[in-house]
Amino acid sequence: MLNAIVMMIVLGAGLGLLLGIAGVFFTVEQDTRVEQITSMLPGLNCGACGFPGCNGLANALVSKEATDPAQCKPSTTVQRDRIKAFMETGVDPVSSAHSHSV
């Protein structure tokens, strides 16, 4: 029991630290829109859209290689409309709606 807990603490902390540090050292500037669209997709990375991963679809959407977020099969209509609105206006309807209400 104790073995298991200690081993998992070490592993979890080790991997977390590794990725955390890597995240600081390896950051690369990216079109922020790609990141924003990626966060609006379901994040399954299932590949059903035909692009390599959610990031791939987001990239394609930004570069106009893909036009319809409905290519992402697992996404809901709410998510699709949000992405569409974001691509047309450059403003995230959800977060801007929040800021208005405040």
Binding site: L18, L19, G47, N59
Partner: protein, 191 residues
């Protein structure tokens, strides 16, 4: 040596991981639309599986077995795979943008690719030593890449053909997979 070659060939063509064990179906249906992305994906999977196998095999025999924690295999393996994939992705993005463009973009897809977890678990189930583990973990994704590539070339042509409406897209791809499975069965007598 002969045993190793048999192991390699039988896992590339005979007990092909996609066509007989049905693993890695998501990328097969998703990334197989263009043959160039099939090769990129295939190479990335080979790299990740070999890397992840070395890590998990070592972890299992140097940490889990001595501590009598064999039942922690699943959770430690999946964590190691997820971290390894993410680390490689970040590393490539920073230091080799060219390689990242060719292979790296497929990396996030791989964490949820069941072939990776399958190979790492199977290395242990089959009781492989280090060398057999290396051969096995190269052979399985090679078979995956082979099928992915053949599949993508067929699909490029399928796009041009007249298909019943309901079968458009994935259903016809699955029919193609069925035919390929039938063809690959005939390799069975090879070894």
């Amino acid at each position: 040596m002969a045993g190793l070659i048999t192991l390699f060939i039988s896992n590339v063509v005979i007990s092909n991981v996609v066509l007989t064990k049905f693993l890695g179906m998501c990328p097969l249906l998703g990334v197989s639309r263009k043959s160039s992305s099939a090769v990129g994906m295939g190479l990335a999977v080979i790299f990740v599986i070999v890397g992840a196998s070395i890590f998990t095999w070592t972890l299992y025999y140097t940490v889990l077995v001595p501590l009598n924690l064999q039942y922690m295999d699943l959770i430690t393996f999946i964590l190691v795979i997820a971290a390894f994939v993410q680390f490689v992705e970040m590393f490539l993005k920073k230091y080799s943008p060219a390689l990242y463009k060719a292979l790296g973009i497929y990396l996030p897809l791989i964490t949820t690719n069941c072939v990776v977890l399958f190979v790492t678990l199977d290395n242990i189930i089959q009781g492989f030593d280090f060398v057999h583990m290396l051969v096995y973990s190269t052979a399985v994704p090679t078979g995956f890449m082979l099928v992915l590539y053949i599949f993508s070339t067929i699909r490029e042509r399928l796009d041009q053909s007249n298909i019943p409406n309901a079968f458009k897209g994935n259903p016809i791809a699955l029919i193609v997979a069925a035919l390929m499975a039938a063809i690959f069965t005939s390799f069975a007598g090879l070894v």
